[in-house]
């Protein structure tokens, strides 16, 4: 039960982070260059993504489960640890916070500088930027959903979590209709980094032949261990930096 909830939450939050990044690009291009070509780009990327999922899902089931756990565990571990490391450095003041507002302004300025097109013709700039953004971020969502779902044997649950995250982020984007500054991206990345790394350790270990003490409950222990270690590191960095704000409040 607890592993189902953790699987859903981890997939949901990780997918939401990627969806926020894709939505930032789509909103920026759509607002400046118009929505028709931008949405065609989003649609085309969605079709390509669906094809990749259709091919990748069944193919992954043919691989022995231990080998799959070993490979995806290693990938998640490497990917998650990168996120966690950067989130700790940002929260500790040693890297600038990733600003979605600045990303929006940058994309908007680049879109505004590109040559305008006739109203009825396809605007390839909008199409390409939207396509690229949605495809790349969507591939990361797909990777998260397929790997989490297939290793746990709960692809449906992971797909539901990924879809729910995309729907929620798009709904929020439609409501705010502006930069995504209000989404605390570093907090999300910190939490997702801890979760991805914990799952990576668990699956990578299982794939290597480890029998975890307490079976699936060991994931909670790994989350607690990495969470506390990351908070302690953040606090240490902030103290070294001489900041007065408590680390937990700024993570």
């Amino acid at each position: 039960m607890s592993s189902n909830v953790l699987l859903f939450l981890t997939t949901f939050v990780a997918s939401a982070v990627e969806a926020v990044e894709a939505l930032t690009i789509v909103l920026a291009v759509g607002v400046v260059r118009g929505w028709r070509s931008t949405l065609i780009g989003v649609g085309a990327a969605s079709v390509v993504l669906a094809a990749i999922v259709a091919v990748l899902g069944p193919a992954l089931r043919l691989i022995p489960i231990d080998s799959l756990r070993f490979v995806v565990g290693a990938l998640l571990l490497a990917f998650g640890l990168q996120w966690l490391r950067k989130a700790i450095l940002r929260a500790g003041g040693y890297k600038p916070l990733h600003d979605e507002g600045a990303a929006f302004a940058r994309e908007r300025d680049q879109a505004g500088a590109a040559a305008p097109t006739a109203p009825k013709r396809l605007d390839w700039y909008s199409f390409t930027v939207a396509f690229k953004g949605v495809l790349l971020e969507g591939l990361e969502v797909t990777f998260i959903v397929v790997t989490f779902g297939s290793t746990q044997g709960r692809l449906g649950l992971a797909a539901a979590a990924g879809a729910a995250a995309v729907v929620v982020v798009v709904a929020v984007g439609l409501v705010v209709r502006g930069p995504l500054e209000r989404v605390p991206e570093n907090t999300l990345k910190f939490v997702v980094g801890v979760l991805l790394t914990s799952f990576g350790i668990f699956w990578g270990g299982e794939g290597a032949g480890v029998n975890w003490p307490g079976s699936d409950v060991a994931i909670l222990g790994l989350v607690a261990f990495l969470g506390l270690l990351s908070l302690a590191l953040t606090r240490l960095l902030r103290q070294r930096r001489g900041a007065s704000t408590p680390a937990v409040a700024r993570v």
């Binding site: 290693a74 990917f79 990168q82 490391r85 450095l89 890297k95 032949g209 990495l226």
Partner: protein, 69 residues
């Protein structure tokens, strides 16, 4: 060729990122865990320990680099 390079670069950034030592350390820890487990030694503690050490070391190295610049 351009697309192959872009594809490989995407996967390199996705998996290795900006600190190859962490990725190499993870590979080593996973390999060692596999070897110990297949020799009949319980090695569940090795990966969490290795990940903790790699995280601390990588963060410290980044802090040293940014303070020396």
């Amino acid at each position: 060729m351009k697309y192959v390079v872009a594809f490989l670069r995407f996967w390199w950034d996705f998996v290795v990122g900006d600190d190859w030592r962490v990725a190499a350390g993870l590979g080593l820890a996973l390999g060692l865990t596999w070897l110990l487990e297949h020799d009949g030694v319980s090695a569940w503690w090795l990966l969490p320990l290795a990940v903790g050490l790699l995280l601390v070391e990588s963060v410290q190295r980044e802090v040293r680099t940014s303070t020396s610049n």
